[in-house]
Amino acid sequence: MDNTLCFHCSDLLPPGPAIISQVDGEPRHFCCLGCKAVSDTIINEGLEQFYQQRSAPTITPQPIDDATREGYALYDSDSLQGPLVHYRDDGALETQLMVEGLTCAACIWLIERHLERQPGVQSIRINHSTQRARVVWTAGEIALSQILLAIRELGFHASPFQPSDWEQQMQAAQKKALTRIGIAGLGSMQAMMLAYPLSFGLTTGTDDSLIQLFRWASWLIATPVVLYSAMPFLQAALRDLRVRHLTMDVPVSLAIFGGYIASAWITVAGGEEVYFESVCMFTFFLGLGRFLEMRGRYRAGLAGASLLNAMPQTARLQLGDTERLVPAQTLKPGDTINLRPGDSVPADGTIIAGSSALDESMLTGEYLPVTRSSGERVCAGTVNSESPLQIRVDQAGQHTRLSAIMRILDQAQQEKPRTAIMADQVARYFVAAVLLAATITFATWLLLEPSRAFAITLAVLVVTCPCALSLATPTALTAATSALRAQGFLPTRGTTLEGLSTIDTLVFDKTGTLTEGRLSLRGLTPLGDMARAQCLALAAGLERHSEHPVAHAFRELESAPLTEVRNQPGQGITGQMEGRRYAIGSAAFVADRCQLGDPDPEPDDGSLTIYLATEGQWLARLALDDHLRPDALSTLRTLKQRGYQLIMASGDQSPHVARVAGQLPLDQSYSGQSPEDKLALVKALEARGHQVMMIGDGLNDLPVLAGARLSVAVAGASDIARLKADAMLLGETLTPLVTALTLAPRTRRVIRQNITLSLLYNATTLPLAMMGLIPPWLAAIGMSASSVVVVLNALRLGRTRVSAPVATAPRYSTEPLSLSEPGL
């Protein structure tokens, strides 16, 4: 087992003292205390099988701090539990949870086993395909927040949600559709079995009554198929005819119901052939095509719908002496609200007490936190990171800047062009041709041999079955979508895959998209006599007690024990160890606390520089910035090779933009862009004829995400961004983009092939049918064969494995990096 990767999450091990624990008798290395803690929990509960069974690297657990616990505790309040928790008949409580961070089946097993050990939990079942959990527990023995924390202990984040009306309707519709094709499938098989002796003349020389037996039995079987499974076709055809719209449902209904009635008539009154098995198979294949289409839409919509139900925004309203939790919608101008560290700001307002660092990257793109104090304004949607604040509400609900951006977004989305689906266009002409052919056949045979006229017309309608045609697109799309989803790219709309093949320009956001969106330690330069490892440990020890985003960069490091730690918000931290005083923070703060002169000046390269010093001596200079995602460089290189135009548009105004641009093969780079600027940029590109794909993460990208031809939200994106985007990236990497852009043209090709194949089949069999040469059994075989060929062709898409080289760079480095080094 190599000793450079964390045993739990497979991240590279950081330099510094090793974190080791015994697993199955062998010492294993971990990258952080979080991973070790999860591993210890797993061992203690006897669940080591997890490590043997897992098939993908596990997610790195984020540390659980008080803010997280408080967030979960909110779910125990009655106002939130009401819609989310369901009271069962036997007195137990039940809820549905969305679980994030699941990478393989072993994770699901682990959570289920771990939760089952918690007292009070009756059962937990996680659905592998939808990643939703259903938990049943006994009221009073355990609280919902404890259940969520138990899942969090293992590193996974779960949140309760309530399925929307749309989802419940879709689920019911899906069940019905499945029942329909189940009946049609079973009926088809039985009808085929009974049709075999009739078609192949095995009944010659026997009683006529035997033939009648087969026919009556077939009729009995075909009845539920036609009257239940095929009803949607008839209803759709009648509805379309009323609006004078020719769709595929018209010839289909004619064939199915015409065939059924005619065959019933022949069974009673005597005649040549019955077509029950063709009618059943017709229904089955067509129903299958529609079912796949519906299922694809349902799966895509699931991802979006669950975001709608993310935790409702709440605010801590200060009324007199008491603090109450209220929904953010009920805030009015003039209200006083309290913000704890980690809370997101629920309304636009002015700070009346406190001073803290705010993370405004989702609105402005600037990744460095901004310090704000009394008298300054804050915007809804930003996150308070450091200290508690008290805010007076100026604008709430619909009047916040956030809502204004959302309105621009909705408007931009309505103007988005929709490409016509290929199959729809083909279908229109096809239907007209089929009906024309059927009419001609009927008329001609009526003159030639009236007794066979109806039978032959029926054969024409059956043989020109658009089964293969209707399966052509949905099977290809379903196969491609599943393949993409497994590789980390999730389309949320039906038109996404088609649009992917037309893209020629990609516009990237910077913060959170090309970069990781959080501060990490970039380099440490010792300025005094102390060794690097020591400096790191001191820095970590001081920053442990801070909630500032800078402190998060040190979270996972081993820290030296410091006492009397004092935090000056926005400036720095001081502490004592072994009698000596240490300080970390901005140069001015540290110089003041340790009685030092100015340090050596450093170049302004856009990174955040903080200093560590002790009384009388500068110890180290630490550079922090927002790292590029490990695979950003390789992904962009690959895309450049393929000929895409790459542009970066960032809201950040700092030199960081130039530095990031210097490290990546971009064609153009823009900084200081407001959401409106970005939208104008995209519109200008589109005016010049380019098809633009926008990849972003936050609110400052929203109007662009709506305006671009295709928009992709990265994994860490805000819920709203993910909701409005056309596709989502599921992991922390950008390589799924390459996969998707490779697979999309292939999908298009397969769809074209399928449509060609099915049209070819119909074109060759139509003249034969019109001449009366196709008996029912041949029509049935032809129908099934063409459908199977189309499906098999589509399944080829599921086999594609597109791998782009992924370079993993070490996250921690104690060497100062030169600006010319790429990719780090």
């Binding site: 008798g25 043997q52 069974q53 592998h128 395909s129 029942t179 079973l186």
Partner: protein, 74 residues
């Protein structure tokens, strides 16, 4: 051949039973999660049900673990 007069109605009854079961399965959400059961059968969740005399002892902590097969009982 007259046996067919019995067999065919019999097969129709069986189809009816099959259909009923299928409809029940759809209602009971048996088709919701098609991937889960494939994975869950691979886990040794029933170790505690093996009688003590049949259990394979794990190797001691200071032995080097060798194959998966040797530390895993069937």
């Amino acid at each position: 051949m007259s046996i067919l007069y019995l067999l065919i109605p019999l097969s129709l009854i069986l189809v009816g039973i099959a259909l009923t079961l299928f409809i029940w399965a759809v209602k009971n959400e048996q088709f919701e999660d098609l991937d889960g059961p494939a994975h869950s059968i691979l886990y040794d969740d029933d170790v505690h049900r093996i009688p003590p005399e049949a259990q394979v002892k794990k190797p001691a902590a200071n032995n080097k673990p060798t194959d998966k097969d040797e530390t895993h009982h069937g």
